[in-house]
Amino acid sequence: MRLKGAKILLETLVREKTDVIFGYPGGAVIDIYHELPNYPSLKHVLARHEQGAVHAADGYARASGRVGVCLVTSGPGATNTVTGIATAYMDSIPLVVFTGQVPTMLIGNDSFQEADIVGISRPCTKHNYLVKDVEELAQTVKEAFYIANTGRPGPVLVDLPKDVMNALCEYHYPSVVKLQGYNPTIKGHPGQIKRIIAEILKAEKPVLYVGGGVISSNASSELLSLAHKLSIPVTTTLMGLGAFPEDDELSLGMLGMHGAYRANMAVTNCDLLIAVGARFDDRVTGKIDEFAPLAKIIHIDIDPTSISKNVPVDIPIVGDVKETLSHIIDLLKKQDKQKDRKEIRKDWIQQINEWKSTYPLAYVQKDVIKPQFIVEKISELTKGKAIITTEVGQNQMWTAQYFKFLKPRTFLTSGGLGTMGYGLPAAIGAQIAFPDRIVIDIAGDGSIQMNIQELATAVQYNLPVKIAIINNGYLGMVRQWQELFYQKRYSYTNMDIAPDFVKLAQAYGILGIRASKPKEVGPVIEKALSTPGPVIMDFVVEPEEGVYPMVPAGAPINKMLLV
């Protein structure tokens, strides 16, 4: 059957089991949009800015584990996706982004709405394609999905010239995809696994350092099993929050620049650091040559380039986290005579508990609302059932510290790139994936204004996302750095001029409510949760509150500023 390129694209998306496309139309993709209503299984969510479309696809992907799909037009439509693509690239999120392009004979001619998006996105995509011939279209789309979702996931961009979308060819959905240069390693090397087990059984003060890879690999239950079997305390990175239940007795909380005191002390004093699906990022390690100085380091990761990139690793193992942890657990069952390690681990656990009680996470609240209180209240009132997205900065760090994450894929945040404006569209994407769950974006007054236009999308599809704005009138995190290291010169971080968020909500036809006193916080949250549709909560908070503990740049992680 001979079909137009536009139909081939949509047919192939259906075969790839896509159910949502986040997009924004334009001239170069109008042919695709013309065919779209013929495919009712492909639901289209109209964003209000292409960046919003990509962040929404990203939130959808993180929450559901599926590949997020976007469709935008050429030129400015494509360039507007770059921040969203880079965000997904840094956090290894599977996306396929389709960008329109001018007709093939006009490429390179400075045509209207032309952009070399393949060139522009090359450094921030896992791979990208320009489809020059309609005969290659189906194969390219299938490859794009395969690459996005295998090995270390990542965003893939496919550039679609307008004439290719109108060209006809015989449609064949390829049955297999085989890429000669791409063969991710899934199973860990058995010899390395044996070495790992030997080290683990020897260690007296082990720590599991867990990152986003555990969530990508859906390995939370294997992690729980392993941690409990050997009584090994677990600390997670920002991206790993939710991989291990934070109410578990072995949970140390987050480590790194704004991590918990006990987590950073445990890592600094451990004799074995088992890194699982984490990449030794500079926010975690602090001063690299003083990171885990007493420990042998084991590193389990699917991406060989992450291993020994910053920190030399003693026992590296390349493989899928879920596979590898299962393998380790199986071998341990056969090998390990001592069933219960709780006794052996008693002293180490006790030391960790001492650190916990010496400097617990704390704040003092009197008449002005403290941001940490809001996060705690939301955590308490949603009882582990909500999906939380954040923006970037202080709002993000307080959420990471004070919210109790119990399950994977409940905390969606831009970790690697740190993109302000991520939270609202990501919440929209998550709500599309799970219409019946509570989805809350915890935002700052600066960040929320960056993609505020996406509120219209939330209203259009009646997505009951709840937005909690921690309103301190500042670009909070930068202000904190200016306070601590730049003699309080608050250069251009004052955000006094902002819309009245309650009135703004009303302008969008949704509920807006404000709390300015601590006793109003609980009732405002409860009202938001019980009101159908999107809601904006404006919390007026202490203007100069800081995120603590803090490891200053260049310091080792055991040298934290505590107040």
């Binding site: 090359r122 450094p123 791979h127 690459i147 890429l179 240069g181 791409y182 060989p304 380039t305 020994s308």
Partner: protein, 148 residues
């Protein structure tokens, strides 16, 4: 493909000293030879990052003389009655060829490994080199091993 590799090197701060690329026997596959410099950790990262690229089929790190390498250089040298015979004898010793003659300059074609090209360039400098164009190194493993 070339832009992907070049972008990888520049984006991560790796240095490209020379780069040469062309088709192999299989027209769908190209062979690229890159000369770079760095300590063990950097070379390990370069190798891993290249392998990560979707279009890269295989990466081979040529070290320790277990390979043959060649490069072609075209050197335009100033020529006059005073240096003509010395120039021709140097070219002969290095088994180079004169590929262009004009009133005041010769263009020499010379093939060899990096050391040989460096040596002849050093010898010709005092005579006045007008221009040098090099292809970049290509290399191949010694013996019956093929790169697969």
């Amino acid at each position: 493909m070339l832009s992907r590799v070049a972008g990888l090197f520049s984006g991560r701060g790796f240095n490209i000293e020379s780069l040469s690329v062309a088709e192999t026997l299989d027209p769908m596959i190209s062979h690229m030879t890159i000369v770079t410099r760095g300590n063990d950790q950097i070379i390990e990262q370069v190798t891993k990052q290249l392998n990560k690229l979707i279009n890269i089929i295989k990466v081979v790190d040529f070290i320790n003389g277990d390979f043959v390498d060649r490069e072609i250089a075209l050197i335009k040298v100033s020529v006059n009655d005073g240096n003509r015979s010395e120039l021709l004898s140097i070219i002969n010793i290095f088994r180079g060829k004169v590929v262009d003659i004009s009133l005041d300059s010769y263009v020499i074609e010379i093939t060899g490994d990096e050391d040989k090209i460096k040596a002849i360039t050093t010898l010709l400098k005092p005579m006045g080199i007008k221009e040098v164009v090099r292809t970049g190194t290509v290399a191949m493993s010694r013996g019956t091993k093929t790169k697969g």
